[in-house]
Symmetry: C2
Amino acid sequence: MPNPTAAMLVIGDEILSGRTRDANMHFLAGALTGHGISLQEVRIVMDDHAAIVAALNALRAGFDHVFTSGGIGPTHDDITADAVAAAFAVPIDVRDDARAILAERCERVGIDLNEARLRMARIPQGATLIDNPVSGAPGFRIGNVYVMAGVPNIFQAMVASVLPTLTGGAPLLSQSLRVNRAEGEIAGPLRDLAAEFDDLSFGSYPFVRDGAYGANIVVRGSDGARLDAAMVRLQALFPGAIR
Amino acid sequence: MPNPTAAMLVIGDEILSGRTRDANMHFLAGALTGHGISLQEVRIVMDDHAAIVAALNALRAGFDHVFTSGGIGPTHDDITADAVAAAFAVPIDVRDDARAILAERCERVGIDLNEARLRMARIPQGATLIDNPVSGAPGFRIGNVYVMAGVPNIFQAMVASVLPTLTGGAPLLSQSLRVNRAEGEIAGPLRDLAAEFDDLSFGSYPFVRDGAYGANIVVRGSDGARLDAAMVRLQALFPGAIR
């Protein structure tokens, strides 16, 4: 059985302007890989209704699961929930279960459940809530789309509650080897080995360190024994390489 | 005149698997913003021919400029140049000018211009070369697409040589204010101010520090005087905020 596939949609002007460096993508990539789900595409779009709707509809049709990050807070630039509702062509309004969560939270920490905070209880019809143990305001799942916060610690907590509900595939394993030779030298034998082990994927990631060229060769697959066999062959091809 | 728009296509399994954290996107975002070009979408796809072709055709139709990073080295998993040629429906082969650059480089550093390295001289018909002062192997421009290396120092050098050839818009300015109050408290007045200054964009980026909620408010636009006026109003709305 092939591994389930996933895509991610990051919503946020602040990343595209260069102001903020995205942290959620790297976290989700590692979490999905460990769970045997293959992250195959990421898109980053602006806080723009049409852009979010178009990207979401393309991704949810193309992949088993779609994870979004950003744009579900209380301010005017948080437009993700409305865009998700539009993508699914369902109505959206303040929902009683989400409002109750926010009301309980506000009362407990002594703040006002004002109009802005109530925006965070707007949930598309048919969605189920995703728990937010950090700050209360829930994410939600609708169809194969998981809508989560952009603040990294909240995003991570939501991923932690969602991931166990998803059927993973065989864990995606990888092993790597650092070769202190230029890619141009190793490319030929590496190509031949990759053709022989065509159930595995071989990536070569060049680097320059102290003026010397090298490459990290990363072999990926779900069969540990095959991975081990490939690594033995690689080490024989490139003596002195560092595992 | 609106600012020119741009998109970026990052090609690389290693980022989607969580093995590597992308650095080029953040660099390009900052460089384009400084040059008055608005980066509006980023896509990250696997080392997969069909995925690269589809993403490239969508992005080059939707934005003024498209920048790609990754997949133009000598190894079997470097398939970007062929995918770009397919997207433009033009032939691709080893080209004399690119071969001459590689031959000169190889001779100078005393390495062999072997079959693998010669792959890096494969250039789609009609493309113009982009200089690579770091390691020789050129990038290329075809139509509105700039195809560049994934190794960060080479990517940055290529961006530096491409950027001056692009007509920028008015520089995109931004100013920010740190407010040590929860987003839910400031959302109402912030929304009203954003509606009043509708030629500017107002973003609110929440954070939690030492258990206390706050938000960075970022105002963006190309008219410095308007930006200053908005900041004065913001500081009056949120006394004690830190500019």
